[in-house]
């Protein structure tokens, strides 16, 4: 029975696509067909989902792979739309591995969105973390390799906190179903789960992984990553923790913290990454306020944000793809060379700033209005201040220093057609939702009684945006980008790791000797055997039937690995493979 409903689950299609892709290396046309067909099928499938499916009893646990209500539907909708856009944008990418990683990543996100219990959630949660790490590594620069390892370590830590919370919760109430937790009855276990979720939502002080890793990801990788990790976290927070005061306050702090860093950063993709922190802050705050209007606002903002933030990452990614640069101090005067990318990026910029007729106007304002209606004036002012900073750095500063400003002498032409098509679709959606907010509003879980296009709201928005523009005009010299980086809280583990290394190299090492001995005798042989088995599969199993490209990836990995110790890519690859096998067995049996 399960095997017949397995194809209803949209993640199945991405998993099948990921399995199929390595065999299509030599057939570029077919590969592109799969890249488009899979997200389109998933987008179609989600319209026919039953309210509940895929219930499996496994070792006494009730696993629920499909639990569908209005909250699920709206996130599935935007995730699959985003997958279509992202796949079009990455159509020209030749490395199959990048596509596979993106597919697995999307599958993880869809799995989390659909699951009804914490165990299933955890499996897909970790799949997302592992798969997205590869999207960072595929940039293949030393910096991205290192950033990818940090990203993975931080997410593994967050995953463990989540898992700890899940176990404790099970011990307390013997129930693993993933449902709303009441704010006044929350226990330590629930807070652990919430912290695990908050890490993925990049809530300060556990946000630094995001602006650390996203700017180092591959061009298409960053487009996928900006959409899924944080917004899946917003989904699980909205599902489990609406009305938690900590979220309301931290969310409002996030909005200002993110724009502040964005104002002083130099790398265009890092500016955008800090703006994810800021924008997700609105959603976290909305979830924390917890009224029907605030949660509606958080969800509609998540929808709008995924589209325009992807558009911004695509526009800046196009510049990176064509010029190899993202630092503002090295760019400037590109409007003659890349006018299309400029127009699309500016559309993304005005959407994130909440210009009338764009999607930001109809979603962000809903959260701010909800804060006002709950008499949370402090939150309201912080979020409005963040809107000022958003327009300052993404609406004006970023396009100005890339496409105008002083001519940097960089020569380039507009990006390939598929990138422009993807940006065009996203830009269209930004206006579509701005002009027909009802389309978005009627997808929301609660009935909407909010009208964005009132005279006062227009007046407020135009004044704020206009006078922020004046502020930029007065201070443009002060904002000149400088080739510097800014410290953030990742300092603690990037510099702190060295202290740990000193500690580890002396006392721990000596006491660790005998453990090492045991490991060398038993563990090492086991892992070597596993690595051999996996690489045999990689070399003989796939390459025999296709060509040497998988071997090429391994060799690329080898070069990369010379920077590191051990064969960690193999272990991670093996872990993913193992997760899959378990998943497939569980679902089919």
């Amino acid at each position: 029975m399960i095997s017949s409903t397995i194809f209803i689950h949209p993640a199945t299609w991405f998993l099948m696509g990921a399995v199929l892709l390595p065999f299509l290396n030599k057939r570029a046309g077919l590969k592109k067909g799969v890249l488009i067909a899979v997200p389109v099928i998933a987008f179609t499938v989600i319209h026919w989902l039953p309210d509940s499916f895929g219930q499996v009893s496994y070792m006494g646990f009730d696993l629920v792979f499909g639990r569908v209500d209005q909250l699920t539907r709206v996130f599935l909708h935007v995730f699959t739309v985003m997958a279509i856009i992202g796949c079009i944008y990455g159509l020209h990418v030749k490395e199959t591995g990048q596509h596979i990683a993106a597919f697995l990543y999307v599958a993880g996100s869809l799995g989390v969105t659909l699951c009804g219990d914490y165990l299933t959630l955890f499996i897909f949660w970790e799949l997302m973390a592992f798969a997205s790490t590869f999207l960072v590594w595929y940039r293949k620069k030393t910096r991205s390799i290192e950033a990818g390892f940090r990203y993975l370590l931080v997410h593994t830590t967050g995953g463990l906190v989540l898992l700890g919370g899940i176990f404790l919760r099970y011990k307390n109430i013997h129930d693993l179903s993933f449902v709303q937790i009441a704010a006044n009855g929350a226990t330590f276990a629930d807070y652990l789960i919430m912290i695990g979720f908050m890490l993925n939502a990049a809530v300060p002080p556990i946000h630094a992984w995001l602006p650390d890793a996203y700017p180092e990801a591959s061009v298409t990788g960053a487009v996928f990553m900006c959409a899924f990790t944080t917004k899946t976290a917003v989904y699980v927070l909205a599902r489990g923790f609406p009305g938690f005061e900590a979220l309301a306050i931290l969310g409002a702090i996030m909005t200002v913290y993110g724009v502040g860093y964005a104002a002083i950063e130099n790398d265009a993709r890092r500016i955008l990454a800090y703006h994810i922190v800021s924008q997700v802050g609105y959603m976290v705050c909305g979830v924390g306020i917890g009224t029907a209007m605030a949660v509606n606002g958080a969800i509609s903002h998540a929808y709008a944000h995924i589209i325009y933030k992807a558009l911004l990452f695509m526009g800046v990614g196009a510049v990176l793809e064509m010029t190899g640069k993202t630092k503002l101090n090295e760019l400037g005067g590109l409007y003659k060379q890349m006018p299309l990318a400029m127009i699309f990026t500016v559309i993304g910029g005005i959407s994130i700033s909440g210009f009338p007729l764009t999607s930001g106007f109809i979603s962000k304002s809903m959260i701010i209005a909800a804060a006002g209606e709950s008499h949370r004036i402090g939150l309201l002012l912080m979020m409005t201040l963040a809107a000022v900073g958003t327009f300052l750095s993404v609406g004006i500063k970023l396009p100005y220093f890339i496409w105008f400003g002083k001519d940097s002498g960089v020569r380039a032409k507009d990006a390939p057609w598929n990138m422009n098509l993807a940006m065009g679709i996203a830009a269209f959606l930004c206006f579509f939702f701005g002009i027909y907010p009802e389309y978005l509003y009627k997808m929301l879980p609660f009935p909407v009684n909010y009208h964005p296009y009132t005279a006062y709201h227009l007046s407020e928005t135009l004044q704020i945006l206009g006078f922020t523009g004046l502020g930029f005009y007065l201070m443009v010299k002060k904002l000149k980008p400088e080739p510097k980086m800014n410290l953030d809280l990742d300092w603690f583990y990037r510099k702190g790791a060295r202290v740990f290394m000193v500690f580890a190299s002396r006392p721990v090492l000596s006491s660790d000797g005998w453990v090492n001995d045991v490991y060398r005798r038993i563990g090492f042989r086991l892992t070597m055997a596993l690595a051999k088995a996996i690489s045999w599969f990689d070399w003989e199993g796939i390459d025999w039937t296709i060509d040497g490209s998988a071997r090429g990836v391994v060799e690329g990995g080898n070069r990369v690995r010379s920077l590191m110790t051990g064969k960690i890519q193999h272990y991670i690859g093996g872990a993913i493979a193992l997760t899959f096998i378990i998943l497939i067995i569980v679902m089919l049996v």
């Binding site: 006018p339 000022v388 009132t454 227009l458 004044q463 523009g469 800014n486």
Partner: protein, 82 residues
């Protein structure tokens, strides 16, 4: 076509500047007429409140964060590589 428009605008930056200031004036004038339903707090009933908020917020944010960056946060780009 697109390029011609952009070039034209780039060459007529004075005109753009005047248009921008006219727009600012208009937004404040519009605020006199905008009907206020259920104001959330005192700022909602002051004419031009959000103009001041936008300008001061923008300037304040630049001063505070640029200051923080110069005094404390900004490091050489290879800071972590050393």
């Amino acid at each position: 076509m697109l390029l011609r428009i952009l070039n034209y605008l780039n060459e007529h930056s004075r005109m753009l500047k005047m248009l921008f200031f006219a727009f600012l004036a208009l937004t404040v004038v519009f605020d006199f007429y905008a009907e206020r339903h259920a104001p959330h707090f005192f700022g909602d009933s002051i004419i031009g409140f959000w103009s001041g908020f936008g300008l001061l917020g923008c300037l304040g944010m630049i001063v505070v964060w640029k200051g923080l960056s110069h005094v404390w946060l900004a490091k050489e780009e290879d800071y972590y590589d050393k």
